[in-house]
């Protein structure tokens, strides 16, 4: 049985091409839920003007499906809120972007 951490790890394969950092470290993964009928992933974008939304959700669905070996349903949603804030970035993403450690 997959855990939330397994799914989070799989989502690290999804890279935001504009910055070259994965969506987990960028803080774009809002929620991961595991239910008997399937796996649910909620993403947020940095802005509603972000055209990457469809690409990042497609990629997320693909990597989670691969991790789940198609055993269960996978559903990825892009939420309108909350808004992304820089504080959502992980220490490693901040370090790559030059934040003082």
């Amino acid at each position: 049985m997959l855990t939330q951490d397994d799914i989070r790890e799989a989502l690290r394969q999804v890279i935001d091409p504009d910055v070259g950092v994965n969506i987990v470290d960028l803080g774009l993964v809002e929620d991961i839920r595991i239910a008997p009928e399937g796996i649910y992933v909620d993403l947020i974008m940095t802005t509603p003007a972000c055209p990457q939304s469809a690409y990042l959700s497609d990629e997320s669905e693909r990597v989670v499906r691969a991790a789940a070996k198609d055993a269960v349903g996978v559903s990825v949603a892009v939420l309108d809120s909350p808004f992304w804030e820089p504080s959502r970035m992980s220490a490693s993403a901040k370090s790559i972007m030059g934040w003082p450690g």
Partner: protein, 348 residues
């Protein structure tokens, strides 16, 4: 149900039609025997509104995810077709309609997220619509060029500004953005190229300091390629701004030609080259896996534009002509590179 690709591809292809006709018109202006004297008159509107406007409108509609948003690229693509068919007034009105839908999309984004970068994107949309309005009222296309230039510059600046939020916070980031922005807008409003150029040069310097390229250039693969496209584009934007400082009001000679093409070919096309592999997967749901060969069309673009600039500034017509022709070759090379990359990825 029609697939996403099947719905969006025709819009992109219609935009590409404007690109092809716009390039042919440009070659005609340079004196290459390509025919179509009427087409030469609408070179700028085809390139800026029919092509860039349509792809930017499509991208914004995809981002917003509202069906009505697709009216923007639909109208502008049809506007481009009308221009090609020899109906400049109908074309101008359709382009105006498309840009007004674009303004509505920008407003929807601002209402959802009130930030400086959404405002800059919105100002870009307004500049475009204002330029189209002026042109459709029977103005000379040249009178709309500062507004159209501002549309592209502000759209790119807004998108880069958005990404700058990944960088460490800097309290002077917004305060230092405002003077270049206001100078650029003043130049646009007054129709003064030297003022516009000063704003453009300052905005470019601000961008280099505040763009994530400073970090992403150290990464690898696609991310680094995008950073190289951006940085090389910024160099042309700076050159364009400095050339504009030398223009007198109403001047349309060789320095004007050099300044505009440094901006639209050097800066804007470098952005397109860098943005396409990132955006095509989102817009068309196709994979564009990075290949080092992506650098080849980029190098061809910059080399051919360098040749054209040399021809302009030394006033040697044949050099300018060949530079312009090779610009077209570089763009064609880029399109072929993207197509081959997408088709190869699909086979696997």
């Amino acid at each position: 149900m029609i697939s996403v690709t099947a719905r969006r591809l025709p819009l992109l292809m219609a935009g590409a039609l404007s690109l092809a006709a716009g390039i042919i018109a440009g070659e005609g202006r340079l004196g290459w025997p390509v025919g179509g004297a009427d087409l030469a008159l609408v070179h700028g509107p085809l390139m800026i509104c029919g092509f860039f406007g349509t792809v930017i409108g499509l991208e914004r509609a995809v981002a917003l995810g509202k069906a009505w948003g697709y009216g923007s690229p639909l109208f502008t693509a049809l506007g481009g077709v009308a221009l090609i068919a020899g109906h400049p007034w109908a074309g101008a009105v359709l382009l105006l309609a498309g840009s007004l839908v674009f303004v509505a999309m920008s407003l929807a984004v601002i209402l959802r997220q009130r930030e400086i970068f959404t405002t800059v994107l919105g100002l870009g949309g307004l500049a475009w619509a204002a330029g189209n309005l002026l042109w459709s009222l029977g103005g000379d296309a040249a009178g709309s060029v500062p507004l159209w230039a501002a549309f592209l510059v502000l759209t790119i600046a807004g998108e880069r500004l958005e990404l700058s939020r990944f960088l460490p916070p800097w309290r002077w980031r917004t305060p230092t953005l405002l003077p270049p922005l206001l100078v650029l807008l003043a130049g646009m409003g007054l129709g003064s190229w030297p003022v516009f150029g000063a704003g453009l040069a300052l905005l470019t310097l601000w961008s280099v300091v505040n763009d994530v390229v400073r970090r992403t250039i150290r990464q690898a693969g696609l991310t680094r390629y995008v950073a190289v496209c951006l940085l090389s584009g910024y160099a042309w934007a700076l050159a364009a701004g400095l050339l504009m400082l030398r223009l007198s009001p109403g001047e349309t000679g060789i320095v004007y030609d050099a300044a505009l093409h440094a901006l639209f070919v050097g800066f804007v096309f470098a952005m397109v080259f860098g943005h396409a592999p990132v955006i095509l997967p989102a817009v068309l749901r196709v994979a564009v896996p990075y290949k080092p060969v992506f650098y080849l069309p980029l190098a061809a673009l910059h080399a051919s534009l360098g040749l054209r600039m040399a021809g302009d500034l030394a006033d040697i017509h044949a050099v300018r002509q060949w530079g312009g022709m090779l610009n077209a070759v570089a763009i064609a090379l880029f399109i072929v590179t993207m197509l081959v990359t997408v088709l190869r990825a699909r086979k696997r």
